[in-house]
C-alpha cells in the first residue's frame, strides 16, 4: 500500500434525510479518495441524494457511484435515486452486520446494484446473503484523523465513561453495570430509536465529540444479536482521546485480536485496574495506526470491483 491511485470519476452519494452517521461516512470516503489520488480532485464528487437531479447526465455515465446506505438515500425520493441508473456502475456502501434487517433493506430500492463495499474492521464475506460481489473495506484513518490520534492524550478525565446510542434493555443493563463498577458519574444518552438528525433531540457529531473529549472510556454493546465490531464508534473514541471499549458476551471469540473487547463490565473493570486508560488507549492506537490509511484501502477495494 501507499502508492498513489489513478482515480476514475467517483460520485459519493449520501442520504440527507436519514442518519447523519451515513453522511459522515460519505464525507470520509470522498476525503479518502481525494487524499490518495493522483488525478484531479474534481473527479471525486460528493452529493446528497436529494441533489442527484442536478448532476450532469453526461458526467454521470462515466462515474462509479458509491451509494452510502441506498435505503436511506431512497428517503429522498425514487426520482432522485433512480437517476443513478445512468452511472457506469453502482456500489452500495454499507456499515452494518450483513444479517440484520437494516442490511436486507438495502436491496429493496429498485436500483440495480453491482457490488457491495462493507466498511468495518472484520470481513463478513461468508455471511452476507445478498449474492452480490462483496468487497471488504477496512475502516482505516484518514491522514488528518491519524495525526489527531497520534497527538491525543488519554487518561483519567472528568467523565469516567460514556454510553451513547438508542435505548435497549441491554444498553440500560450496560449503564447499570458501569455505574456499579466504574462509578456513577458517567454519561448515559440512550433516547428512543429515531434518526440522528437536527431538531430530533439527538447529539450532533460535534456534541458527541465534546462528550468523548471529556470521557476516559467510550463503552458500547451491540443493539442486535450478531457478532460485529462497530468501527465507527472506535474512530469516534480515538479522535477524542477516549478509550474505545466494546462489551460482547455472546461472540467474544469472533472479535479476538481487536483491542479492548470484553465479555462483561467486571472484566473491563479488571483490565482498567491493571492497565489504566492511558495504556489501554495506546493499545488501541498501536492497533489502528498500523493498518494503513482509508484512501489506500479504498483504492484497493475499487480495483477489485
Amino acid at each position: 500500500m501507499g502508492g498513489r491511485a489513478e482515480w476514475e470519476p467517483v460520485l459519493v452519494v449520501y442520504p440527507d434525510q436519514g442518519n447523519v452517521f451515513y453522511e459522515t461516512l460519505a464525507r470520509r470516503l470522498a476525503a479518502a479518495a481525494r487524499s490518495s489520488g493522483t488525478g484531479d480532485a474534481d473527479r471525486i464528487r460528493l452529493e446528497p441524494a436529494s441533489s442527484l437531479q442536478d448532476v450532469d447526465a453526461g458526467w454521470l455515465k462515466t462515474v462509479t457511484a458509491l451509494i452510502v446506505n441506498p435505503a436511506e438515500c431512497a428517503l429522498s425520493g425514487w426520482r432522485n435515486v433512480t437517476r443513478l441508473e445512468r452511472a457506469r456502475r453502482r456500489i452500495a456502501v454499507l456499515a452494518d452486520h450483513v444479517q440484520t434487517d437494516w442490511f436486507a433493506l438495502q436491496f429493496d430500492t429498485r436500483l440495480e446494484i453491482d457490488a457491495i463495499i462493507d466498511v468495518g474492521f472484520v470481513p463478513q464475506e461468508h455471511e452476507q446473503p445478498s449474492g452480490l460481489p462483496y468487497i471488504f473495506l477496512y475502516n482505516a484513518a484518514l491522514p488528518d484523523e491519524a495525526e489527531l490520534i497520534k497527538t491525543q492524550t488519554a487518561g483519567w478525565r472528568p467523565l469516567p465513561w460514556a454510553v451513547v446510542g438508542h435505548a435497549t434493555p441491554e444498553r440500560a443493563a450496560l449503564a447499570n453495570d458501569l455505574v456499579n463498577h466504574l462509578g456513577g458519574e458517567g454519561v448515559v444518552f440512550l433516547p428512543s430509536l429515531r434518526p440522528v438528525r437536527a431538531k430530533r433531540g439527538m447529539l450532533s457529531p460535534a456534541a458527541l465529540g465534546r462528550v468523548l473529549s471529556a470521557s476516559s472510556f467510550y463503552v458500547w454493546c451491540a443493539h442486535h444479536r450478531w457478532a460485529y465490531y462497530e468501527s465507527f464508534r472506535f474512530l469516534e473514541a480515538m479522535v477524542a482521546g477516549a478509550v474505545p471499549c466494546k462489551i460482547e458476551s455472546r461472540h467474544f471469540a469472533a472479535l479476538a485480536g481487536l483491542p479492548n473487547v470484553y465479555r462483561s463490565v467486571p472484566e473491563l473493570d479488571e483490565h482498567v485496574r491493571e492497565r489504566g486508560p492511558a495504556a489501554m488507549f495506546d493499545d488501541a492506537r498501536d492497533y489502528y495506526l498500523a493498518r494503513g490509511r482509508l484512501g489506500d484501502h479504498l483504492a484497493q477495494a475499487l480495483a477489485r470491483v
Partner: protein, 278 residues
C-alpha cells in the same frame, strides 16, 4: 400539621428564605418494605453532595400509612439523629400531590429532589443534577432512571429531552430536581386529587406552559422499581378517561402552540449544552 420524629425543624420555609443546596423529599404511603432502601440511597446521596461541597438534607413524609411505616420511620429517625435527616408523620392522608407540595414548603434548600419511597437514587448523580439546575436556571433537571424488576434491569425512563411528543404521553418521571421557588410560583403540583395518576405529567406540562426551562442531564439519576399493584400499574385503566382532560388543558390545538426551542434542553455541567451544533 403533623407528628414529628426528628431533630430537624418542621416549619415551612418561605421561598425567599430557602438556601442553596438540595432537599431530598421522600413521600411514603404504605411502602414499608422499600423505605430502608430509598432512605439509604438518599443518605448516600447527601454524602456525595457533601463531598462535592454542597449542603443537602433528607425529609421523609409519611402520608398516613397503614402498614407500620411510621414505626419504622421513628426507629430510623432515632437511629440517625442528624440535623440533615427529618421525618414528618401526617395524621391524615393528603395524597401524593398534596405531600409533594408540602415538601416544596418544608424544604430548607431551594432545590428539591422528589424520591418516591419505592425507588432509589444513584448517589453520584445528584451533584451532577444540582450543578445542571443551578448553572442553567432551569425549573426542572432530570436524568436517566434505570427500570428494575427485582434485580433485573428491564429498561430506561426519563431518558431524553422534553419534546413535542410530551403532549401525547409522559416520559419524564417525578424523580427529578425541582427549583422550589419556581415550582411554588406556578402553584406546585396540581391540587385536583382526581388527577393524581397524571400529576407528574401535568406538572411537567404546566412548567412548559409557563415557559420554565427543563433540562435533561445525561447521567443516571436513580433506579425505578417496577412493581405490580403500584399506583401507575394498578390505576392505569380506570384513569385513562382523565388523559383527555390533560390533553384538553395543554394541547387543545395539537402542538401548534408549542415553541420547540423552549420545550427542553440537554445539558451536562462538564460539557455544557448538548442539543446544538447541528
Amino acid at each position: 400539621m403533623s407528628d414529628l420524629a426528628c431533630s430537624r425543624p418542621s416549619a415551612e420555609i418561605p421561598a425567599q428564605d430557602k438556601q442553596d443546596g438540595v432537599t431530598i423529599f421522600i413521600p411514603n404511603w404504605n411502602h414499608h418494605s422499600f423505605l430502608a432502601g430509598s432512605i439509604a440511597s438518599a443518605r448516600e446521596a447527601i454524602w456525595a453532595m457533601a463531598s462535592a461541597g454542597y449542603p443537602a438534607e433528607v425529609i421523609v413524609a409519611d402520608d398516613a400509612s397503614r402498614d407500620g411505616s411510621q414505626r419504622l420511620l421513628r426507629s430510623i429517625a432515632a437511629h440517625v439523629g442528624e440535623n440533615s435527616f427529618g421525618v414528618v408523620l401526617l395524621p391524615a392522608n393528603l395524597g401524593l400531590t398534596g405531600v409533594r407540595n408540602l415538601g416544596l414548603r418544608l424544604a430548607r434548600y431551594r432545590a428539591v429532589l422528589f424520591l418516591d419511597a419505592d425507588n432509589q437514587l444513584v448517589p453520584a448523580g445528584l451533584p451532577v443534577l444540582y450543578r445542571a439546575l443551578t448553572a442553567t436556571g432551569a425549573a426542572l433537571a432530570y436524568g436517566n432512571l434505570i427500570d428494575m424488576e427485582g434485580n433485573t434491569v428491564v429498561g430506561l425512563r426519563s431518558n431524553e429531552m422534553a419534546m413535542l411528543s410530551l403532549t401525547v404521553d409522559n416520559y419524564i418521571d417525578a424523580l427529578a430536581l425541582v427549583d422550589a421557588v419556581q415550582a411554588l410560583e406556578i402553584g406546585g403540583y396540581v391540587s385536583d386529587r382526581s388527577l393524581d395518576y397524571w400529576a407528574d405529567w401535568e406538572f411537567v406540562l404546566h412548567l412548559i406552559a409557563e415557559e420554565r426551562d427543563l433540562v435533561f442531564v445525561p447521567v443516571v439519576a436513580g433506579r425505578y422499581r417496577r412493581v405490580p399493584l403500584s399506583m401507575i400499574s394498578d390505576s392505569a385503566p380506570r384513569q385513562r378517561s382523565d388523559l383527555n382532560r390533560i390533553r384538553r388543558i395543554f394541547s387543545q390545538t395539537g402542538t401548534l402552540e408549542w415553541d420547540a426551542r423552549r420545550v427542553g434542553r440537554i445539558y451536562h455541567p462538564t460539557v455544557g449544552y448538548l442539543d446544538e451544533e447541528w
